[in-house]
Amino acid sequence: MKALELDWKPLALVPLLALIALPLVGSGSTWLTLTVAGLAMGMIIFIIASGLTLVFGLMDVLNFGHGVFIALGAYVATSVLGGMSDWTGSTELWRNLVALAPAMVVGMLVAGAVGVAFERFIVRPVYGQHLKQILITMGGMIIGEELIKVIWGPQQIALPLPEALRGSLLLGDASIERYRVVAVVVGLVVFALLAWTLSRTKIGLLIRAGVQDREMVESLGYRIRRLFVGVFVVGSALAGLGGVMWGLYQQNVTPQMGAQVNILIFIVIIIGGLGSTGGALIGALLVGLMANYTGFLVPKVALFSNIALMVAVLLWRPQGVYPVANR
């Protein structure tokens, strides 16, 4: 976006982290496997986090209930894919991919629709009051989680990958799970679409301007509330898509998954700088890589390592790697 004064230092963090991990992991092929897994996980997290960070940057709304949309997307995917077992059971790749597409679309639609209701009834009455926002979106999260339990039951549901996406490709000695490649591709497509919308369209221009200075955009005559509702809904839909991807990545879904992923998302958007899409991408990749490296090296401290990462980044840049909003 700002091509002239591109701040490259945060960009260098991702390859730096990967390089530091190389001697620690030891074997090159294991390292490659872990790196691809980390990038795939990072891309999925990015899909979920991008909506949340825009919602915060644009309207100063911190949504602790974002996790509901993740779980919702994943549960919708279990229903959709469960109903298309001849397509997912087929060994032909194109049939599997065709089966994934409706799961993703329906997941996004449902999450987006619930997002409309969430914005209207949970978020709108408490604009501008941070304390109440945190409390109320937390309440919305509880309600959403319980409603998921009512509809799909409280137990864990398996979400198997389609036939042809199981297993892994061999690249030299390194085995790379096929689904992870799909995840990276979908993540890149989402990022490209987002980046294009934000930097090349009028709506994107307004969103970016709104993140930087809301009052100015309003005084120019644009209804930023309406724009915000749109961003909130798209953010929810993206969380739904991320939920589908995450559910397939874990190969099972639980009602609590939203709350678990939420914690990773928070770490990501804090690292990235609230309101920054580029920062969210870097944060997500860092968190994904870190989780996979430490999961391999010292599994017991995996979650702590991400907190340590966040602490380190914040000591370096207290507002996150790309601070955007002036709040």
Binding site: I142, K149, I263, I267, I270
Partner: protein, 364 residues
């Protein structure tokens, strides 16, 4: 005398005063008024939660900080007692060592979290504490050599506090005077002392500064108060009180595991109680804890009845299943944040001020 005890912070509403006295008397004579093991357990849990919620109120209601790591300190207190008692045997020294060690650990942790994350942005604090608390919970259940993992730890107390220790041969007023009763009164006295201490803290000049920060951080800083120092002190104090509440819980249950003291559901319960009782009032903690814990038992009963009555209608029946009681609490929570932001205590005080014509009453 009363003035000194309550730190000049009277209930300021006749109804509220009556309710508070009723709660105090009810808890003081609970073993005699409400016979039965379960009723006494509920009463003891109320005592623990009053301290826990009051300490959270210091943070949320008085300083305006949202922390999700409060159960972490609660858990540290409970684990301190449990781990020391399993390692060192059921002695008073073990309890002392456990309590001391957990207080020190809470102090260090809360200082670290506070100094670090209160320095950056207020909104980060909520998110960072959420992450730290969840990491700590995972950590506690993984370190099974020390913490007993998911199973937790059962332990024995010193002989004096065990139910098998009888002080009198015959029951007194129909209640057997044993170690269990002594433990209950130990908790009762501790809870009263701790709540009065918290009242003292929030009504001291220090507490006034906290409220000033809550109302307008920038102005407080401009007047010359170091906001970071006050906020950190407040979060450390509240962590220490939460640790003591955790120790009380472990003392009563003679067991501790991740689900009993660290789980996120307890955090939600605490939030719910603070909001229902009334943020920034201290007395709200007592009323909220009683209301909530009684509702927790009765709501599930009520839901079971409703669910059985509606078995013919599939969705409604599933919605009313007793396992879904958290759903209704969530709805209650959202509604009370909207329509009831000052909680029970705030409402009572507001109506008391109205009754007095709003002339002599303080600002409620």
């Amino acid at each position: 005398m009363l003035n000194r005890l309550l730190s000049n912070d009277f209930p300021r509403s006749r109804v509220l005063a009556v309710i508070l006295v009723a709660v105090l008397l009810g808890l003081a004579f609970a073993p005699f008024i409400f016979p039965g093991v379960k009723a006494l357990s509920v009463a003891a849990k109320v005592l623990v939660f009053i301290v826990l919620v009051a300490s959270f109120d210091l943070l949320l209601g008085y300083t305006g900080i949202v922390s999700f790591a409060h159960t972490m300190f609660f858990g540290i207190g409970a684990y301190g007692m449990a781990m020391a008692s399993t390692r060192l045997g059921p002695t008073w020294t073990a309890l002392g060592v456990g309590l001391g060690a957990s207080l020190v650990l809470s102090l260090v942790l809360s200082l670290a979290v506070g100094l670090f994350s209160l320095r950056v942005r207020a909104i980060f604090f909520a998110m960072i504490t959420l992450a730290v608390a969840s990491a700590f919970q995972t950590f506690a259940s993984q370190m099974s050599d020390f913490t007993g993992g998911e199973d937790g730890l059962s332990f024995k107390l010193p002989e004096l506090l065990m139910p098998s220790h009888e002080f009198l041969d015959a029951p007194f007023l129909g209640v057997s005077v044993d170690g269990r009763l002594l433990t209950y009164y130990l908790l009762f006295v501790t809870a009263v002392v701790l709540v009065l201490a918290l009242l003292r803290i929030v009504n001291s000049p220090f507490g006034r500064v906290l409220q000033a920060i809550r109302e307008n951080e920038f102005r407080a800083e401009a007047i010359g108060y170091r906001v970071v120092v006050y906020r950190t002190t407040s979060s450390v104090l509240s962590a220490l009180f939460a640790t003591l509440a955790g120790a009380m819980l472990a003392l009563w249950l003679r067991y501790n595991g991740p689900d009993t003291s660290l789980s996120f559901e307890i955090m939600i319960d605490v939030l719910l109680i603070v909001v229902i009782g009334g943020m920034g009032t201290m007395y709200g903690a007592a009323i909220g804890a009683v209301l909530f814990l009684v509702a927790q038992s009765y709501l599930q009963e009520l839901l079971r009845l409703a669910s059985e009555a509606t078995t013919a209608i599939p969705v409604v029946s599933a919605l009313l299943s007793p396992d879904r009681w958290l759903l209704w609490l969530g709805v209650l929570f959202v509604l009370s944040v909207y329509y009831f932001p000052t909680g029970v205590v705030g409402r009572l005080r507001a109506s008391a001020t109205l009754d007095r014509g709003g002339l002599h009453g303080d600002k409620a």
